[in-house]
Amino acid sequence: MQEYLTAVGDALPYLLQGVLVTMSLVLGAMGLGLVLGVLLAVGLVYGPPHIRTPFKLYVWFFRGVPLLVLLFLFYFGLFTLVGINISAFTAAVIVLGLISAAYQSQIFRGGILSLPEGQLKAARALGMSDTKAIFFVILPQALRLSVPGWSNEYSIVLKDSAVAYALGVAEVMARAHFVASRTYQHLPLYFTAGVIFLILTYLGTKTLRVLEDKVRIPGYVR
């Protein structure tokens, strides 16, 4: 036991530096996923067929191919092929973000579809273009309704981010693995890594819960 504690104690500062990397991965990916996901959702709901079809293909592709395959495909394949020289970290943010966009688009699509049809009609009746109606009437409501689903997406992206270890990104998992393979203290180190992820999940979902209350429309019954 003493041995375990010492191993964890020695490695902890190094692991905790990885938390910064992990959270940067997660926030970057979720931010990218948010912007793309909203665009995808709007296109999927309101777009003409020549927009909807490629958007559907996008969602199908990024939800259908395993994360590890996509990471390798983009980092070692595509990015190299087109001659973009980016760090493993940036590549991981982009790939995680592209995948998250596919999932987030479905969350937002659900939010948009759950609004009564009359909201868009009322906006149009006031002389708003569809773009204005979507921007000022539909999305502010749909995004509020999407926060619960979004907190699910956070925990998934957080856990997925550990796979960036395969590209050599020094996030929590990569650091745990690095120390464990040097010291042979596998159990305490991976255990600690797991606990760190649990704490990050808890903090994130808790924060989103606060956000959910904060953006709730007064008088609106859940």
Binding site: G118, A125, L126, M128, V137
Partner: protein, 257 residues
């Protein structure tokens, strides 16, 4: 009856037709609405009243027919013209359709800011004035979910009026309201009519229609069955179907005002 001006009608619709599949929901409906005139659309549910009203401001695109506002024909494919036209045609819905994420004030203000591009101050003043006009000055900070049905409908009227409409379309504005809330909405509509706002109003409130309408249009199965002043339509309609319907409504709603 209000005096008719010799100018062209405020709103003219000609042979509006809307089909869903093989069913013709609205069939070759034509009429003219003059300055200060109030026409009431009556008839059974599913008779095409709501679809007709939504065709008039192109919330539902009619399959055939032409529409003029103030003598100018509106082509819905010209987006800019369409958006301008819709500003001039105030629409009131049966279930209010207030924007749920905005306060009463925000509901009135938003189109002033985003559509009419008014300055923050002007929009604020205008929104407050309209909410005052419908008697909701003390409720401006409330959200739709915190308002009663009657208050919500009055907010939606204020929201429409803030756009300076030339004509108002009201689609059963009191049908979703509790009986004791109907009066407050009707009195707002009545005041509007007294101010000379041309209106097309679909309603089942027969006494209100009798009181307010210059003309009643009776619609069933998508066509205008009969048209005439309330005194004629409500008591001695030529068409037996109109008489039967009006008699039933009188029995139902006759004393509910």
């Amino acid at each position: 009856m209000k005096a008719m001006t010799p100018e062209s009608p405020v709103l003219k619709v000609e042979k509006i037709t809307k089909r869903y599949g093989s069913k013709q929901v609205v069939r070759e409906v034509s009429f003219e609405l003059n300055q200060g005139e109030i026409k009431v659309l009556m008839g059974p549910s599913g008779g095409g009243k709501s679809t007709l009203l939504q065709c008039i401001n192109f919330l539902v695109i009619p399959d055939e027919g032409r529409i003029w506002l103030g003598g100018k024909e509106i082509l819905h494919s010209q987006k800019k013209d369409l958006y301008e036209y819709r500003q001039k045609v105030g629409m009131i819905f049966q279930d209010f359709n207030l924007f749920d994420h905005l306060t009463a004030f925000g509901n009135v203000e938003i189109a002033l800011l985003k559509v009419r591009k008014m300055s923050k101050n002007d929009a604020r003043e205008r929104a407050l004035a309209e909410l005052e006009r419908v008697g909701l000055r003390e409720h401006i900070r409330k959200y739709p979910a915190q308002l009663s049905g009657g208050q919500k409908q009055r907010v939606s009227i204020a929201r429409a009026l803030a756009m300076d409409p030339k004509v108002m379309l009201l689609d059963e504005p009191t049908s979703a309201l509790d009986p004791e809330l109907i009066t407050e909405v009707l009195s707002v509509i009545k005041a509007l009519g007294a101010d000379g706002m041309p209106m097309i109003l679909a309603t089942h409130q027969i006494e209100f229609a009798a009181d307010l309408a210059d003309e009643i249009i009776f619609m069933e199965d998508g066509v205008i069955v009969e048209t005439g002043p309330p005194a004629v339509i409500l008591s001695q309609a030529e068409c037996a179907r109109t008489r039967e319907f009006c008699a039933k409504l009188t029995g139902l709603y006759g004393d509910s005002r």
